[in-house]
Amino acid sequence: MMGGRVTAQHPDKSGTADPPHDGPLLRVEGLVVDLPRPDGAAGDTVRVVDGVSFDVPAGTTVGLIGESGSGKTMTALSVIGLLPDHATTGGELVWRGKNLLRPDTDWRRVRGHQISMIFQDPLAALNPSITIGRQVGEILRRAGRPRAEVRHAVIDLLDRAGVPDPERRMNSYPHEFSGGLRQRAMIALALAGSPSLLLADEPTTALDVTVQARILRLLRSIQREQGLAMLLVTHDLRVVAHVADEVVVMYAGRVAERGPAGAVLRRPAHPYTRALAASVPAVRTKTALADPLPGSPATPANRPSGCAFHPRCPLARDRCKAEVPQAREVAPGRWSACHFAEEVFTP
């Protein structure tokens, strides 16, 4: 396997070879992201990510789930330093023991080589006027690797991502690929720099239903084979159930609940997770009938006071409107940001 050899020869082109560090590969600690309000005056900002904490241990897949606008994409983008212009951040992103949010972070060494990202729409995410092969191999070429070696690596990467006949297809342009093939090319591109964390923002949402499962299986197998860590952003509970080891449930820019994926989905410790799970048929029960989530999601722009979920929560009472619930460890490894988690959760 060429890719394996690539990693061995160039353990870390950045020269920042990991100093031994304890703890997870990535620790997100009280992450805050403020964005300027689109129509607001200067200085008027919205806190789209509000004190998010979770860990991504090496070699595991963490699912990041929540309704539209809950801040999943912003959380993922901050990990690779690609937030929109004028975004400001707070908290810590501890990557291999070093805080990435410090101003002296050399993002160019982190991006692609240590952390890489695949995006929702592979057609838009690929450059229309550059061949697939060149785009996949660019990071290696820019690292000064000889042409023949880059070519071999590209063929191997495309092959492992399941692009058939890679030697020929590497000369194609993105528009000549089907949706599924484009996402496979995008995966090859993201793996080219031998990263140890892959951020995947809704990697299957833009694809045909029949292709979605195949791409997910591919991601899962690549992640396992290479011992990659993966942060998988999705709004689909079924994806999390199939692929993730850990899950982080977000609501209106905050973490509602986190813990081992299977346990969280089977026995939620937060009313929001419970409602989310009940809204999807096949996850908890075999019944075809699902209860849709009542009400509409809170947005960070007008987040309700106290617990942001309280207008939709069947358990809400006065305390919920007044006091923001802090995440508590309600059972080993199970964290819930609900004042009354014990009423939901049965250990």
Partner: protein, 306 residues
């Protein structure tokens, strides 16, 4: 694809030739009378009219004219006393020098300004460039030419004010001609680059660890160039129009000064030769722009092949 465009081109040329034929004959004034001056007798005028074939029925003139056009033979220029095409080809190189130099200046300066402005939309450079391009486009060409002459030729005495001979003579006319063109290229490049820099593939490029410069030059510029190439091709035609004014301001011995003189004297042969030649050049430029466009955009390239 290219063949089809060439066929269309032939039709366009036929149309252009016919329009020129009509316009030249519809214009007031009898060329024979104008040429011979106020003292000419009726007989003299009639004789010259016959020599020029102007007494024949219009349709016969038209058919003969089309035949001449095919052979690139526009007859004698009655003023210059020699074949019109010969005079035109003699003046052509000077105009080509002028327009090519102006194009080179406009493309280089316009791309550079547009790139810098577009890479940071709303930034200081962007605002200066935007204001400057609006100014560049709104000044009339002859005024710009005169201002440049006053400053660089008469004031600073750095460059010759008119005439030909040395490369220095080319500077002022070429810059004058390039002014509005630079503005067009800069504005288009700017908006095109700004748009490209918002595309998701730019995020992908950044996610590979590329510098902003590498993202701009390696990913955004390529796609931004596609519309710019088309406009450069189309605008070079308009540039030949601008050349007429510039050549007259700077006494530049090209087609522009030739055609102004010919129009003033109803020198049909020369007017027709120059106009058709310019129409032909514009047509070829458009085809070249189309072909380049196809080459640059792989999506259109695929369509073109199938």
């Amino acid at each position: 694809m290219v063949v089809r465009r060439l066929l269309i081109g032939v039709f366009v040329m036929w149309g252009a030739a016919s329009v020129i034929f009509v316009i030249v004959r519809a214009a007031p004034g009898d060329p024979a009378a104008v040429f011979l001056g106020p003292d000419a007798t009726k007989e003299q005028i009639a004789r010259l009219t016959a020599t020029l074939g102007l007494d024949k029925p219009l349709f016969e003139q038209y058919v003969r004219y089309l035949g001449d056009v095919l052979r690139l033979d526009f007859g004698e220029s009655y003023r210059l006393g020699r074949p019109a095409m010969e005079a035109v080809f003699e003046r052509l190189p000077a105009t080509v020098d002028l327009t090519l130099t102006a194009t080179a200046i406009a493309v280089v300066a316009g791309l550079a300004l547009g790139l810098v402005a577009g890479s940071r939309p709303g930034g200081a450079v962007d605002r200066v460039v935007s204001a400057a391009t609006i100014a560049l486009q709104s000044f009339p060409t002859f005024w710009v030419g005169i201002m440049l002459v006053l400053t660089f030729a008469l004031g600073l005495r750095l460059l010759p004010s008119a005439g030909v001979g040395t490369p220095a003579h080319l500077v002022l006319p070429a810059v004058t001609l390039a002014f509005p063109f630079t503005a067009i290229v800069a504005r288009l490049t700017r908006s095109s680059v700004t748009e490209s820099m918002r595309e998701p593939y730019v995020q992908t490029a950044r996610s590979k660890g590329l510098s902003e410069r590498q993202v701009l030059l390696g990913h955004a510029l390529r796609n931004s160039l596609i519309p710019v190439v088309t406009i450069v091709g189309l605008q070079m035609g308009a540039l030949m129009g601008g050349a007429v004014i510039v050549e007259n301001v700077f006494a530049w011995p090209g087609l522009g000064s030739l055609v102004v003189d010919a129009v003033a004297n109803r020198d049909y042969a020369v007017v027709q030769a120059v106009t058709l030649l310019i129409a032909g050049i514009v047509m070829v430029l458009n085809i070249v722009a189309d072909v380049l466009y196809i080459r640059l955009d792989p999506r259109i390239r695929t369509e073109a092949r199938s």
